[in-house]
Amino acid sequence: MESIYLAIPLASLIGAIIAGLFGGIIGRKGAHTITILGVGISCLLSFVVLKHVGFDGHTFYGDVYTWAQVGNTKFAVGFQIDRLTSMMMVVVTFVSLMVHIYTIGYMQDDKHNWPEDSRGGTNSYQRFFSYISLFTFSMLMLVMSNNFMQLFFGWEAVGLVSYLLIGFWSTRDTAIFANMKAFLVNRVGDFGFLLGIAAIWTYTGSVDYKEVFERLPAIEHITLTILPDTEWMLVSIIAISLFVGAMGKSAQVPLHVWLPDSMEGPTPISALIHAATMVTAGIFMVARMSPIFEMSDTALSMVLIIGATTAFFMGLIGIVQNDIKRVVAYSTLSQLGYMTVALGASAYSAAVFHLMTHAFFKALLFLAAGSVIIAMHHEQDIRKMGGLKKYLPITYWTSLVGSLALIGFPFFSGFFSKDLIIEAVHAANIPGSEYAYWMVLLGVFVTAFYSFRMFFLVFHGEERMDEHTKSHLHEPAKVVTWPLIALAIPAVLTGYFLDPMVVGDFFDGVIHVNENHPAIETITHHFHGSDSWIVNIFSFVGHGLMALPFWLAMAGAGSAYYIYMKQPSIAQWGYDKLRFIYTILDKKYFADEFNMAVFAGGALALGKGLWAVGDRFLIDGLLVNGSAKVTGWFASFIRRMQTGYLYHYAFSIIIGVLAIMSWLLFGANNV
């Protein structure tokens, strides 16, 4: 088995290297064949591992090679294969494989995206495949890691690939601004993450998961004084630092600003990286670190509140977006908020469950959006679409599946996972859970509203595109539509894994929940009314149909239909009357303006000030050149005394003799 574990990330890596370095030689067909083959092998073997680990109950924990051995600390590259890992591996490689296939269609005409004078378009197709395979490798290294060093490697490596892909069309100013912004905001998160790792190493002497978790009881009561007169629990500091990393990667408020801009990248990677997998790395990490987070209610409370804020307020922005990809991007932010809320409520399994269902339905929605974009000849404004249902039937039906899953319609996967999260927050007892409950509840209405606003504007109603576009409208090639169908299936079905994944024992021994955090325990207790899982599922659905979230979702979808299909005047009225709120939402709460003025502007002003005053004026001006000048003055003064006239010298000798004699006669006597 061990060689299989190693083969899974390496298959993707080898594909990436060949396509990247020899893309010019093997050509387009060679590049997509080799990378799809590589990721295909990774995916197939991941399913083998899922069966082996998930159903046969085998696990693996071991090192591949020693990265560095310093003193008693061993830094290794190694794997921890348990149920959480194997589930993530399947999600990552499956979505990645679908995206690889889809890319054949999406990037076919990429040459047109490059200006005449650029050589960037020459092998851009091959390069794109190389990057997404490299991403798959990095993400696998992240989820399969058995230690913090490798986790951080994967963490930053996925960030690198994200950087390269957001800025893929590097001649566009918006793209290369967005990728730098994404990297820097993520670095703010990584800054916290690395401090957390440093704290862990300092107090446990190890970066290996198993050893760290074993030594946790010993550090439970340690306190630190970081600021004078304030004592902090060490575990709170560790958990919060790690969570700052998760906030960067999983785009939680206030480090969310990079994700909407990341839509500058080609759509396939928006689906793979900025919806399904990379952005959920933070959720995965917190779930993996559940033994640490469980020790600090302070940290959990922070996680809960930040998640809830993201879930609701980012969803609101989705309502005013007109770019098809940006609507889905804000939806992703909001859904990541839901997962984070679940983490804060100690319902890690619910968070991971939603991560999984979301990966499928959100990848589906993004790829469907991409399919619309291809059909519309790269028009992304939903105000210029409409009535696409009859031109793009496969895209239409798969989008409907994705949207229903997203809003949590009964029997679709999102219904189960979102309901579990809301229930869990309801049952949570952490400070802030009341606020979080209302946020996620209202968020359901918002989600349904923006989802179906987009759905109706794109697929129904009058056809608002120009005649030229309309005459060319047709369903894209099979490489585009098949992945949609392949993703629609798990978008429906994965919800039925709630038993065992959330209320069962699937994550026993992997995710750790303290006894005083009862959220999941309560749900599990309610769920297991009968011995038959079918009865349980139906009673869960039945219970859901009676509950508030379902009716909120229906209300959201219904009002979207009424406003945008029946009475467009209401939208106009809202736009006119609520201009103030609209502006705030349209400007995304002015977060970008604030960051540009305060952080970017502040850093530049500080740098200029330090350079002008510190380096050039004080050090070089006063000390270095100043001492040179002083030496110069001194020398010219001394030089003036060397006049060469005998009477000058004779005069100085007489003055000197007089001075010494006076000192001997008068001065010395007084001593």
Partner: protein
Amino acid sequence: MFEGNLLSILIWLPIIGGLILLFTGDKFAPRPIAFVFSVLTFLLSIPLWTDFNPVGHQMQFVELAPWIESFKINYHLGVDGISMPLILLNTFITVLIVIAGWEVIKHKPAQYMSAFLIMEGIINGVFAAQDSILFYVFFEAMLIPMFIVIGIWGGDNRIYATIKFFLYTFFGSVFMLISLVYMYSQADSFAIADFHTVKLGMTPQILIFLSFLVAFGVKVPMWPVHTWLPDAHVQAPTGGSVILAAVMLKIGGYGFLRFSLPMVPDASSELAWLVIFMSLTAIVYIGFIALVQNDMKKLVAYSSIAHMGFVTLGFFVLFPIVAKTGSAEGTLLGLQGGMVQMMSHGFISGAMFLCIGVLYDRMHTREITAYGGVSNRMPWFAGFFVLFAMANTGLPGTSGFVGEFMVILTSFKANFWIAFLAATTLIIGAAYTLWLVKRVIFGAVANDNVAALTDINKRETIILASLAFFVLLLGLWPEPLVHVMNDSLAHVIEQATTSKLGN
């Protein structure tokens, strides 16, 4: 074959090569001669690694002969796990410099090559010297070829830069000479090993420490004695910048490990706060300054200072940890981090300056605003540039990560705020590096000059690819390097934590 006097060969072979070049002059194939000597030296240095015994801290490949007997000064050479990798770095980088100057240097190529070969031999001497006077002679001699390289092949303002460079570094080292003479009076020997064991009172230790701090601090360079470096880099030819950043700065770090920590441990402990303060200032303050530079070389020069801050931080964070926890447990990681950072910085900064040289050779400007959209015309170059830039930001998987990671981990053990300030490099370092990449490499083709650019040729590809290889190798598998340095660094910790007070 030459086991007995391998180090002598590594010192004198390139110097002889340099002298031969001076005599044969420009007419008689100066470049192939230089190439042969540099490659030969590099190949001969490989047995240092392969035959090195990593167990124990003892000096290896030792050579000992009397030099000035009346003062007990010896021609005494040897290497341990600290100096051996640095010699290899030097011999490797020199080969690249010879190749890099192949077509570019048209003015007096024989003398240019000669200067670098002689410098290579002298720097090997600095790392191999086990007698403090021998060390001092090499330490000072090294300035001469560098002075000439900047002064003859430099830019428009080269005279100011050379004088500044020379006076700065010379100012540093004279104080060191006084300290060496004082310790001779106490130990009755000039051997570095004897200086390690001689007992010294607190006041002399403090004075000696300060003299070393000036000498090595200027070399590193540490804030606030760093301002010679940006000027020297901007004026130096590409080869000069590369050897300066990749190898010469390391002599400062090496000096702290070989001289300050073992010779004056009590003063080092007493004044560790000062060095840590200076290191953190280098990381944070210099980072902000790098952000606003308009000249690519200046930007990379400031980034060098910030990265070297991790070296001194890693070395001296040992003392607050010992003071706080009462044991040296875990401090090895800081020293390892500092040393790995030195090696890594050798590759990365060398590569960055070579990349800037590639652009400069084509466009004859280093102003960032003159560029934009280089990747459209030079895709392979852009690939290398982005790789080295990412290494410069400390991306895991590249060598730039290893040292910073180790030092940040260790600093947390000393104090939360030290780690906090050190870790800000993740943000600031990424900001100035990626902004550089954005303005130079990405974007649409900015002007006709950029449109006329041609991608790197075979010669340039070989240089950049070989550096990329080491950047990745050291990032993915630092264990071999860490392993050879382990026992020697552990020995330094032992010396640094053993008081020399109390006669």
